[in-house]
């Protein structure tokens, strides 16, 4: 048994296969098709066939539901087979991984296929994208009656938290912008990124981009693009027979403070969201934040990256931007972060966005991450959502040692 295996039951579970489809502003196929593409590619990556999959986590018509909202499907019908365990974890990423691992540890499934993503089919319609007068993507427009009536959007919900932070701590705008510029430059170098080849970005470019919801400017914020991601979760024992080296689950945890986008998020309640999930995750792994080689953090906005490093305990509240400017979050920095370009420059695909974080973490651990590869990566941290959404989750993945 590995050293990790003695630490916590999760360490007996691993990610054996991952895949991300092509990511683009608009794709010519729909959500179900792009999800299937990701699912099949993840199975290929794991060297498995569908026959071996007995658990599946994907967008179903909702708990007990019978209506196929966009992007959901009866996956038993799509795959032409029943399963021993099904999940509809939202969001995916770390919670999807941990739910699948839990099902396997509880003997409810042996191999779970987790996938999600979105696509509109709009690319084939020839409609121009990004026009100023159009509506933003539906999942960034919360539909609660006390949110939608005011014209709020997810970026604004995070801005309401960030504004209090900026008011109290007055971080250096250049140093905050450096976070976005560094992540975006990683995306520039990633051939798979939607923003590949753009830039290079300097903090001044971020500060000169148009305001969206103060204090955020366009380049402070993540994309809303199209594509899908998938992962195959199975026992470490089984994963060791797969073509690629397993990525072992070292720990993980979730924190649900409130249902997202109903009550407005208050900085005083939301500032430390994630601290408890981090504490539990690192305790399971027998690690400390300083042991993490790559950080694949949920980068809805620059502020969230800063806030998560504060919540991890690397520096005091309010000092995150100064700390990161000194430590460095590029591939050559002390804390390489969002090495694929993150949600800001690689892609963000709704339900499947958090799984993109795991795809990159697994590739980093395998040593196959491409231009953003950090040599010798053994431990990767992935996170999901954040203060504006009023929930947070984390997982630690590591090499099989």
């Amino acid at each position: 048994m590995s050293a990790a295996g003695r630490r916590c039951p999760l360490a007996g579970i691993a990610v054996a296969g991952v895949a991300a489809t092509r990511q683009a502003r608009r794709l010519e196929v729909g959500s179900v098709e792009i999800c299937l593409e990701a699912a099949r590619a993840a199975l290929d990556d794991a060297g498995m066939s569908l026959d071996e999959v007995d658990g599946i986590s994907a967008p179903w018509p909702g708990p007990g539901g019978a209506v196929f909202h966009p992007g959901s499907a009866d996956w038993t019908a799509v795959f032409g087979k029943g399963f021993d365990w099904v999940g509809d974890t939202y969001p995916q990423g770390a919670p999807g991984l941990l739910d699948a691992a839990g099902a396997i540890l509880a003997g409810q499934a042996r191999t779970v296929l987790v996938f999600g993503g979105r696509a509109s089919g709009a690319a084939s319609a020839g409609s121009p994208s990004g026009g100023g007068a159009k509506s933003v993507v539906a999942y960034t427009r919360p539909d609660n009656e006390f949110v939608s009536c005011w014209g709020s959007l997810t970026a604004a919900q995070f801005a309401l938290v960030a504004q209090v932070y900026f008011h109290r701590f007055a971080p250096d705008p250049e140093r905050v912008a450096l976070v976005a510029a560094t992540i975006r430059n990683a995306g520039s170098a990633n051939p798979a990124a939607v923003m590949h080849g753009r830039g290079p970005y300097r903090p001044a470019d971020v500060l000169a981009s148009p305001p969206v919801a103060e204090p955020f400017r366009l380049l402070d914020l993540c994309l809303a693009t199209e594509g899908a991601a998938a992962m195959v979760v199975t026992s470490l024992e089984r994963a060791r027979d797969c073509p690629s080296a397993p990525a072992v689950i070292l720990g993980g945890g979730s924190e649900w403070y409130r249902q997202q986008y109903v009550d407005p998020p208050r900085y005083d309640d939301a500032a430390r969201i994630g601290a408890a999930a981090f504490r539990r995750s690192f305790a399971m792994a027998g690690l400390v934040p300083g042991d993490v080689d790559v950080f694949e953090l949920y980068d809805i906005c620059t502020f969230e990256v800063v806030r998560q490093f504060e919540t991890l305990g690397f520096c005091a509240e309010g000092e995150g931007a100064d700390y990161l400017a000194e430590a460095g979050i590029g591939a050559d920095g002390r804390h390489p972060t969002n090495t694929d370009g993150g949600l800001m420059a690689y892609s963000h695909v709704g339900w499947g966005g958090p799984t993109l974080k795991i795809v990159e973490a697994v590739r980093q651990i395998r040593g196959t991450a491409g231009p953003g590869q950090v040599p010798g990566t053994e431990v990767a941290l992935v996170t999901g959502a954040g203060s504006g959404a009023q929930y947070h989750n984390a997982a630690l993945l590591g090499a099989d040692r």
Partner: protein, 141 residues
């Protein structure tokens, strides 16, 4: 955006009916006596199921705000100031700050309710700066 039937909604119809006649209401728990918002089936302070709408004085303080330059839908005319206002009876809501240039809105600013038409012309409970005489030094507890 609000569908026309908002005053018929089971949990929130009374709130919207109040807004339609220019009255700000808030749920008050019959068990613990505290106010809360958004309206929900049980009180978020004590899980009491008996609560009722009572009038609010509509006086509050800006807890946070953001100037939105990119509306989620074209019906909203940017820029506008989205805010969390802490209302004096101990509850808070997402709202707009109106009658104030966006660059003059401040955290901690004293505000009072003002009903304004939303993009579909139905009234919404926004907030405007309080006149100096009424607001100066007043604490919203």
């Amino acid at each position: 955006m609000q569908p026309p039937d908002r005053a018929d909604r089971e949990l929130t119809g009374e709130f919207w009916a109040g807004v339609d006649r220019g009255e700000l209401l808030r749920p008050v728990c019959g068990r613990c006596g505290r106010s809360f918002f958004c309206p929900q089936v049980v009180c978020p302070h004590c899980a009491g199921a008996q609560w009722s709408y009572e009038p609010s004085a509509g006086l509050g303080v800006v807890y946070s705000f953001t100037v939105v330059h990119r509306p989620p839908e074209p019906a909203f005319e940017a820029p506008y100031v989205l805010a969390i206002v802490d209302v004096a009876e101990g509850w808070s809501l997402l709202t707009w700050i109106v009658d104030c240039p966006a660059d003059e809105v401040r955290i901690g600013m004293q505000v009072q309710v003002r009903f304004v038409p939303g993009p579909d012309r139905a009234l919404l409970p926004a907030f405007a700066p309080r006149p100096e005489s009424a607001g100066a030094g007043e604490a919203a507890a």
